[in-house]
């Protein structure tokens, strides 16, 4: 009897100690957002070494910070888009997205002209000989980079947040894969890696950002980051450059001479699900 009590006391003490150590170490660990510059550098070095080992290829991971005085915004010309899906594939290559064929950060929705913008009857799986098809128009939807993002609010571990330049990012090392953010997103813009991403070494884009297109593990959520690895270096997102009809526009909302400001001031602008007050930084407009 006495022996049993002692065992239980020992057991409790032991489990308590283990729990305390676990709790302490998890408190010491931090999100990419919170770590010091030196810590971030060392984590990036670890990541790069990991990729070198896994893919046998040099993958450069940048930690470029938001540019001061910059708030990114995007505008897509619905009167031009023909639904050719060049953007979805350029995005997949640029952002090291799994080649399984299911996961795309951009989904092009085909809608009927007589119904207008109607998500209930939109079709992302249209397979046409030629586009645009008569009586249809096309609405590519990716992350709307909301100024008031529902997805970041529901994350139980705060692994996703809005950066000062407006890009909503995911810390892939902190994400627990609960997919609450996917449920909260009103645009279906977040995607989950159900399996290990299919990515051959020769397909990898080695220019990456720590909060963007660096290769992801299985079991985390990912999404469009306005090509953070490009746009924080002054370049246009990959989808802007590839669009054969020039329907995609990108720039700094705070710069009065930017394309975005011109569009807002001179064109008819539409916001998807405006009534939800998500305040997207992604606008749609009619260029004609």
């Amino acid at each position: 009897m006495a022996d049993e009590g002692k065992t239980r006391r020992e057991f409790l003490a032991a489990t308590g100690a283990v729990a305390a150590v676990g709790l302490l170490s998890s408190c010491l660990d931090e999100r990419l957002k919170d770590v010091s510059k030196e810590e971030l550098k060392s984590r990036i070095a670890e990541m790069e070494a990991g990729y070198r080992q896994k893919y046998g290829k040099e993958v450069k991971v940048s930690d470029a910070e938001p540019l001061p005085g910059v708030a990114f915004a995007y505008a897509l010309d619905l009167s031009r888009c023909v639904g050719c899906r060049r953007c979805t594939y350029a995005c997949r290559e640029e952002n090291n997205i799994s080649r399984d064929g299911q996961l795309f950060w951009i989904r092009v929705l085909e809608m009927e002209k007589r119904k207008g913008v109607d998500f209930a009857h939109a079709n992302a799986y249209y397979d046409a000989e030629k586009v645009p098809r008569d009586g249809h128009f096309y609405v590519p939807v990716s992350c709307q980079q909301c100024d008031n993002p529902p997805c970041t609010k529901v994350c139980p571990v705060k692994a996703t947040w809005k950066e000062p330049d407006g890009i909503v990012t995911v810390d892939y090392d902190w994400c627990i894969g609960c997919r609450y953010c996917m449920a909260a997103c009103s645009y279906g813009a977040r995607h989950f890696n159900w399996k290990e991403p299919e990515l051959k070494p020769e397909e990898i884009n080695g220019t990456t950002h720590v909060l963007g297109n660096r290769p992801r593990p299985k079991g985390v959520v990912e999404k469009c980051t306005f090509c953070i690895q490009r746009t924080r270096a002054g370049r246009y997102p990959a989808c802007v450059e590839v669009c054969p009809v020039g329907a995609r526009k990108f720039g700094n909302l705070l710069d009065p001479s930017s394309e975005i400001r011109y569009i807002i001031e001179h064109k008819r602008v539409l916001i998807l699900k405006e009534e939800l007050n998500t305040m997207p930084r992604f606008l749609y407009f009619y260029g004609t």
């Binding site: 540019l67 910059v70 023909v82 639904g83 050719c84 899906r85 060049r86 979805t88 594939y89 399984d100 064929g101 299911q102 996961l103 795309f104 989904r107 992302a124 799986y125 249209y126 397979d127 046409a128 000989e129 030629k130 586009v131 645009p132 746009t231 002054g234 370049r235 246009y236 802007v240 450059e241 669009c243 054969p244 009809v245 020039g246 526009k249 990108f250 720039g251 700094n252 710069d255 001479s257 930017s258 394309e259 011109y262 569009i263 001179h266 064109k267 260029g287």
Partner: protein, 182 residues
Amino acid sequence: MNGKSLLILGFLLLLCACSRHPESDYEAEPSWKAPPDEQKDLALEVPPPPFSEGIFPCSECHKDLETNPNRRKLEDAHDDIVLTHDEEHRWCLDCHDAQDRDKLHLASGAKISFEESYKLCGQCHGDKYRDWRFGVHGRRTGLWNGKKGYLLCAHCHNPHQPHFKPIKPLPPPVRPEVSHGR
């Protein structure tokens, strides 16, 4: 300073205030401003025009040919060109210059090179031209906060048949229920 000179100074100040143009206070900002590059009247940097192979310079063949200014169906050369661009009202020499075969001309008669063909297009399509100068019509490459790559109208639109032709889309995403069976 005595009282008299103060009086004169006051009078002069009053005169200055009154002589300001009365309307100058009401001049509103124009609702549309020329884009920065147009204000400076800089030529835009564009890639070379998309000539069919071996077609330019036009004078290569035309230097020995007498110009026939009559509108007609072309049979000896350029018979592959089908004009569906306000063809009722126009034909070759409305844009291509008859004297200098390596040039285009504007409605004013001013000759322009093929590199500046956007000026020719802009004569009728003024709204598109303006949007293009601002970077809103057409494809852009380069830097959103710096040097941008422009394309000529003719890089995307065939000037003789400017309407876009339908293109083949890339494959649709794989439906989740399909790949689950794999």
